[in-house]
């Protein structure tokens, strides 16, 4: 086998694959954050907790109701999305007339509650969640060994990301949504129920986070803290990419995942901070973000 700069190819491609998987979570989560921010004008700090809740929902569905992975992939986002809709109606909707910062503080409080509750009942050691039997094993691609499940995560994430892009950019519902992002009052004047659109958007964004959580459950353990550190990296991803563009969020998410994977191969000590360093560089060179429109 050939070697690249002294790195065995299995290690290199293995880390790149892991980078792509992390990148797909960055992409789905930053996409949800961007959609929610576009319409609600709040940064949803609960997003990481909702990702964690998606993974827990999958675990609970399996262990309490016997619903396997494939069912959880559909049911968990709906359940967690519904919880999100209740929160939006009861609490978050009371803050729309205030500054964005209050939304950040409120959702931060909600994230603390969710994390605390799950830590209290399930501990912090993490619960194992087996991968579906159809996706066990792997393929030998010649240059590397590709576990089937990891390949599935990347494919599923790409499909969900582009489905979201399609809904928002190419359907009538998406057109309402884009219009309401630009000018909610005018859209309301045309007879469209904007508050309901906002609620559904929040539910959809939360559902995306929960979907990512279910995808992550077999790879990482189901753990109450799994969302907390991830969401901060996703914030950095959002700052780097800017929240103006759907495709921008997807490209930035996957790209940064890959860069993180490469860093893990060539300079492992830097892998935890590389995204923050890139954020610093972007802030110096193009403060609005790579795909950002406003400052």
């Amino acid at each position: 086998m050939f070697e690249l700069l002294g790195i065995p190819p299995q290690a290199l491609f293995g880390q790149l694959l892991l980078g792509l998987i992390n990148g797909s979570f960055y992409a789905i989560l930053s996409l949800g954050l961007a959609i929610i921010f576009g319409l609600l004008n709040i940064i949803n700090f609960t997003h990481g907790a909702q990702y964690m809740m998606g993974a827990f929902a999958a675990w609970m569905l399996l262990n309490y109701l016997g619903i396997p992975y494939w069912g959880a992939l559909i049911v968990a986002p709906i359940v967690v999305g519904a919880v999100g809709i209740v929160l939006e109606r009861l609490l978050i909707s009371r803050l729309y007339h205030l500054d964005h910062l209050y939304g950040l503080l409120l959702t931060f409080g909600l994230a603390l509650i969710a994390t605390g509750v799950f830590r209290n009942f399930y501990g912090i050691s993490g619960l194992p969640y087996g991968m579906p039997s159809q996706l066990s094993g792997g393929q030998n691609l010649g240059f590397m060994f590709m576990p089937n499940y990891r390949g599935w995560v990347i494919v599923a994430s790409l499909v969900v990301c582009f489905a979201t892009w399609f809904i928002i950019e190419r359907t009538r519902l998406g057109a309402y949504l884009r219009a309401a992002t630009e000018n909610p009052t005018m859209v309301g004047a045309f007879g469209i129920n904007v508050p309901r659109l906002i609620t559904l958007t929040y539910g959809f964004g939360v559902g995306l986070a929960a979907f990512a959580g279910v995808l992550a459950a077999p790879i990482y353990n189901v753990n109450p803290n799994m969302g907390a550190d991830l969401i901060i990296v996703v914030f950095a991803v959002v700052v780097i990419g800017g929240m103006g563009s759907i495709l921008g969020s997807i490209v930035t998410g996957f790209g940064l995942g890959l860069i993180e994977g490469l860093t893990r191969v060539f300079y492992p000590e830097g892998s935890a901070v590389v995204i923050f360093v890139i954020m610093a560089i972007v802030l110096l060179v193009k403060p609005a973000g790579l795909f950002g429109r406003t400052v």
Binding site: L101, L104, G109, L112, I113, G116, V117, D229, F235, A280
Partner: protein, 327 residues
């Protein structure tokens, strides 16, 4: 940002244009000093020192949020960073406590200047995310750096001899040093708020575009207040490291950044005395709930939600409204 002015759009914001300290404020500072001198004989001194350190931390944070209108979600970086710096200075370099604290404070101010330079390039919600992300970077650095001791932190930091001859090991001796440091820190913050510089800050908070058009270099003021706030947070963190003889990852983690936001919000952002009240309430709460494990997190989350939805002026903000005087 209108966030803060909306919440404190009452006497506190408007009536503070007189430069001298009002009689009421003098009385409150005097009462605080008397209470501080008596407290260690009534309560456990280490607990009171913890309250004092967090009161200073919250007031330093409030200088940035309440008067500069900038929500930093990463103040743990300066608090915890200074704790590491002072612990290292005291333990490895053998500095006396006052020099160790000074080292931590300066280190935090430098870190604040560096992060602030980048963070002020974005505004509002992005500013909060950028500061949080950089603080997480400092956290990861602290996990890996050789001198921070990783998961263990820097333990058994010597309290040392103040100025080289006053033994700081007895809690009461150290207590009066901490009280002095914190009280001077609070007076410095009061002076900054009520200086011409502070007036410009409030102008930027309420209407940045107008201050720019009046010829103020807005970004310089933002960076200055960010650096001051980081340095004073560092003063609090460095002092805490000497008190507990420990600098650990808890001090640089994002939960610490959240706690200082909560203290300020609960006490009343944009008020002079609110963060002191907020810090006292939260530290006491943590103390009483310490045996209940994760309930601390849940209760803090509930307080956040309730404070944002129903109680945006905070405790002191509500009192100020009732007595119609700025506090």
């Amino acid at each position: 940002m209108s966030a803060v002015s909306e919440a404190i759009n009452l006497p506190s914001a408007n009536a503070s244009h007189e430069m001298g300290m009002s009689g009421l404020h003098k009385a409150i500072f005097a009462a605080l000093l008397v209470a501080g001198l008596m407290a260690p004989f009534v309560l456990y001194p280490v607990f009171v020192m913890k309250v004092l350190c967090f009161a200073l931390f919250a007031c330093a944070f409030n200088l940035l949020l309440g008067f500069g209108g900038l929500l930093s979600f990463g103040h743990a970086a300066y608090f915890g960073g200074a704790a590491y710096a002072s612990a290292h200075a005291a333990k490895v370099w053998g500095f006396t406590p006052e020099l160790a604290i000074l080292t931590g404070t300066l280190g935090a101010a430098l870190l604040g200047a560096a992060i602030g330079t980048l963070a002020i390039r974005r505004q509002g919600i992005y500013f909060a995310m950028v500061t949080l992300a950089f603080a997480q970077m400092v956290f990861f650095f602290s996990v890996q750096a050789p001198f921070t001791g990783g998961e263990d932190g820097i333990q058994s930091v010597p309290r040392g001899l103040l100025f080289g001859f006053i033994d700081m090991r007895p809690d009461l001796n150290l207590y009066f040093l901490v009280l002095g440091v914190v009280f001077l820190g609070l007076l410095a913050i009061y002076r900054i708020i009520h200086s011409p510089f502070g007036q410009v800050l409030k102008g930027i908070r309420d209407n940045e575009a107008r201050m720019t058009s009046l010829g103020y270099r807005v970004n310089r003021y933002k960076l200055a207040v960010f650096t001051l706030s980081a340095g004073l947070s560092g003063l609090a963190g460095a002092t805490k490291a000497i008190v507990f003889q420990l600098a650990s990852l808890t001090d640089v983690y994002w939960t610490m950044s959240g706690e200082v936001v909560l203290m300020t919000l609960l006490g009343g952002m944009g008020t002079v005395f609110g963060p002191i009240v907020g810090a006292t309430v939260i530290v006491s709460l943590q103390n009483y709930l310490a045996t209940f494990g994760d309930w601390v997190t849940i209760v803090q989350g509930v307080i956040f939600v309730v404070a944002v939805l129903l109680f945006r002026e905070g405790i002191v903000g509500v009192i100020a409204k009732l007595i119609r005087k700025p506090l």
